[in-house]
């Protein structure tokens, strides 16, 4: 891993992009890294475009600005591709991970000339199969961990089981579904 990895999340209010960025920060923290996880708060409305950020570093982080040249971008909702410039500043040696069922031919023209790696994952199908409902953030979290290689997948899985048990202490029945969604996402994320 590089000394500093910067990640930008694009989602819509209610899809859990902020929570996913905080869970990613948690997971990286547990591997001994220095982390930041912060949303860019706007007028919070269900369905409105939102942005969240992660910095993951081997050294203490002092910067307190938003991220303009991310190493990675995660797009939790592919309808944002036509309205938000998701690849703005994205480094060509980085990657973008998109929740979509569309093909490379359909996606590439929507990326404003971005030539780096593009990964896709059908978080909707995974979520509906594993959880019975559409919560795209858990599969997207797993996908970005796989793509960035910020930690070993087996460490991530083990760590998240603990996190979910803590987070869902009062509804343990959803832990299995979330774990299933994570594992499916790790298998199914693919480079377009």
């Amino acid at each position: 891993m590089k000394d500093l990895i910067e990640i930008r999340w694009h989602g819509r209010g209610g899809q859990g992009a902020k929570t996913a960025s905080l869970l990613l920060a948690d997971a990286a923290f547990n591997t001994g890294k220095y982390i930041q996880g912060f949303p860019e708060y706007g007028p919070e409305r269900m369905g409105a475009p939102i942005t969240a950020y992660n910095r993951i570093s081997t050294k203490p982080i002092r910067l307190h600005s938003n991220i303009y040249e991310p190493d990675y971008v995660v797009v939790v909702d592919d309808t944002l591709l036509s309205s938000v410039d998701v690849t703005a500043g994205l480094k060509e040696d980085g990657a973008i991970v998109i929740n979509t069922t569309r093909t490379a031919e359909e996606i590439r023209p929507l990326l404003n000339g971005y030539n780096g790696k593009v990964y896709s994952i059908d978080a909707k199908t995974i979520s509906e199969r594993a959880l019975g409902r559409y919560f795209p953030n858990t599969p997207m979290l797993a996908a970005i961990v796989k793509v960035t290689e910020i930690m070993l997948v087996k460490d991530f899985i083990k760590d998240m089981e603990g996190s979910f048990k803590h987070k869902f202490a009062k509804k343990l029945e959803v832990v299995d579904g979330n774990m299933k969604a994570l594992k499916m996402a790790i298998e199914e994320v693919k480079e377009l």
Binding site: D26, Q36, F38, P39, R62, H64, S65, Y68
Partner: protein, 391 residues
Amino acid sequence: MSIRERLSGNEATAFAMKQINPDVVAAFPITPSTEIPQYFSTYVANGQVDTEFVAVEGEHSAMAACIGAEAAGGRAMTATSSQGLAYMWEMVQIASSSRLPIVMPLINRAISGPLNIHCDHTDAMASRDCGWIMLFSEDNQEAYDNMIMAHRIAEHKDVMLPLMVCQDGFITSHSIENIELIEDDIVKEFVGTYKPAHYLLNKKEPIAVGPMDLQPYLTEHKKQQAVAMENAKIVIKEVSEDFEKMTGRKYDFFEGYKLEDAEYVIVCMNSTAGTVKETIDKLRELGVKAGLLKIRMFRPFPGEEIAKALSNAKSVAVLDRVPLVSATGGPLYEDVVSGMFVEGINVPTINYTYGVGGRDVTVEQIEKVYADLQGLKDMKEPYRFLGLKSK
């Protein structure tokens, strides 16, 4: 051994309050307030503290309840932000003039209008002369550490003044970052118990709190408050030294970053300081002698010490995170330059309004300030806006 954790600034502050375990917390959980009372109320509900939590109907009442509890002899806290502080403003000054050492985290956010909920320092600056000690915090760690030191400072017999711990709204209050926490028992021992010399519930010594104070003595009582604020400087130094012995983390009136040999210096407070440090490292590699003076103790204001620390600079920029609508400099600028004037230090010093209403503060903006400082020829344009989209 410290505890390695990751918490937001709000979580870290609430955690400090849990460790302090005050007698009373009175708070109103509206949007301009913070997540701090929400987290703290969970500790109350779980029985992790034995605090009396008073859910009041507004911030004015929150401060009034703290005043009542503190006057009765208890340790009282609240937390607020933005409009919440504006609404409690009247009571904020009753607290300080009654010499009640209430401790209050303030999450710095804009004051409406137009309506804006994001970070700037307008709330703090509008209350800067309310007689409270004001400490500012670059990140969640500093916010937590300042909280742990707060009661020792505020409750010292030579001080007896309320204290605000400020940090940047959203930028640190809602950002998860690494933090080193101190064990409960060590915090408890460090903070100690509050034993006021005079209090309302002492039946052996009946007293009045907050009586009318007219022409004969108000001036003398205000002078006493001013002396207490002077004393706070000494106490803050002592407590910070004790804290350093305990944790290894050094705190002073202000922090200098590559300040010793700096030719071009930025003065600022809170989270922007971290971004300035990053910029300095970049510029130093290019041979630019850039430096930072980050103010931690804003009230009492260490004007003399700041002036001396800036005396060898070629030019200085003071960054005010408040909108300048006074046809003169911002509050931090005016304090800094008045300190320099009194000390007879004449270094060209300009002022920037920046980061208003949550406008993101970038390395590029800070580089622009240092470039301006290097090219500063005269003082024809002392008051500037940073990152303005159009003139």
